[in-house]
Subunit: 317 residues, 2 copies
Amino acid sequence: MAVKEPVIFTEKDEMRKWSRSMRSQGKTIGLVPTMGYLHQGHLSLVEEAHKHAEVVVVSIYVNPGQFSPSEDLSTYPSDFHGDILKLKSVPRGVDAVFAPKNLYDYRENKKSEIMLIWKIRILTRKGWFHVWRRGEWGTKQGLELRDWREDILCGKNRPVFFRGVATIVTKLFNIVEPDVAVFGKKDYHQWRIIQRMVRDLDFGIEIVGSDIVRDSDGLALSSRNVHLSPEEREKALSISRSLLKAKSDAKIGLVNCKELTDTVVQTITQAGGRIDYAEIVEQESLEAVEEIKNPVAFCIAAWFGKVRLIDNIEISI
Amino acid sequence: MAVKEPVIFTEKDEMRKWSRSMRSQGKTIGLVPTMGYLHQGHLSLVEEAHKHAEVVVVSIYVNPGQFSPSEDLSTYPSDFHGDILKLKSVPRGVDAVFAPKNLYDYRENKKSEIMLIWKIRILTRKGWFHVWRRGEWGTKQGLELRDWREDILCGKNRPVFFRGVATIVTKLFNIVEPDVAVFGKKDYHQWRIIQRMVRDLDFGIEIVGSDIVRDSDGLALSSRNVHLSPEEREKALSISRSLLKAKSDAKIGLVNCKELTDTVVQTITQAGGRIDYAEIVEQESLEAVEEIKNPVAFCIAAWFGKVRLIDNIEISI
């Protein structure tokens, strides 16, 4: 079978025009938003999108709006050429790739809104490595979500994170105008917030959550895993292992959330991880629960070295 | 010519389905968002919409999200039957009316999100009068605009106003999915904020601003004018008269904004009005200016009795 060559768009008007022409031909459009540096987890989102739509668009854009100045925008990995090759390897490939240069460039001259972002290519033994640099964090404008539980889990201590996510997802929705968008359940909080945003703002888009893809050792796939040393990686397995253990404990009747989280925190801390949060929450409302009765998600974020990893597991008893 | 009977939708899914079927027939869609109790100003927006799109949708929805508890949601006038008759009187009429009951009803049982709104019909000598009552202001969720000059002019001291406007306009855009939306320049600040929102969030929608329609005496048409007594109405003419005077003063070289606003404030105050704001701002950025050099808008809000009126004039010298 010939490998499908995706059309690559960098301009939003061209992207929207293509989408509208697809829709006028009666085709449904699936969108998979990514920040690039794709791995098998992303490719599984593409496969999921093919189940729900006739043509599939993958967006590749490292959104500066969801990083705060102290975060790792500057070291977020990128490999556009490799990404395209990977997308071509998926059964049925992808139909279009949307890779805009800057979605916040409004060609205004106002100092307070100028954002300086540039990319440096560094030649390493593994080949070219791309690094984003930024002079000023400038995406102060954007959507603020109100009362959307944006200040817990992945939003705790990161006031700009979900504002940035909501803004960029809204922009991508408005540019690509898809029928379906697929998000990974690995970013559980993000997936639920986007579901809620789509409901509250009446987007005519179906949001599909796709299961976490793990390496054979259990580590949830993430673009950030590349920054883990082999030792850190080994230690980081404590996350998925302790989550699995919590699930089986819950299944045999240990449903006290404080006890379950204490155990997980202890396991990860002993392995050398630094817990950001470890919480058992109701699946839709994301409200913390004391005892597992209804379906919950056990969500964890933890640092290993300089890498912040997230993972979660859904538990129904 | 037979008068066109608009299709009336109260359910958002039906509305979107109709829009998509129009679009799939290659027709462009124009949207005119209103809060009902239509007057000639609204009808001029419909006429403007016909210039830009092949089919025209008018939405009628009093958005509770843009009123704060102290404001006049409860007395906002309504006359659905009369509105439909007026829309039929416009040349080419309208193709569809979207009149949802409640766009914030997500069928959740969470107390904190319940909003109680009911309508009372009162028989007066002038006929039935409809009054909205509300138990709890419940639209806490929504879009927050950041750094969009949402805290000046019509947003000053009204923290929920533009959040409410942005949320409802986004919802309407996502339900109706129009190609063009027409807004009155009477709500100058709102019009500019929506233009900016469309740019910043990449909506594929053209925003058209339509000129203010005035009564023969100069008063800008507003649904709220119905609450003015004949005496208040006469006094309220000081707004449009002083704005016209300011424009002609500017044309002959009086370009100092403090002097111009002082004169206007004095005129309106002497007529018995209570100024909410009177500001000369740059047309796009809405930034206050000291001297008129580039095109500006002179924007005024003032109370006459219990009625808050707004008006403005664009000045280019």
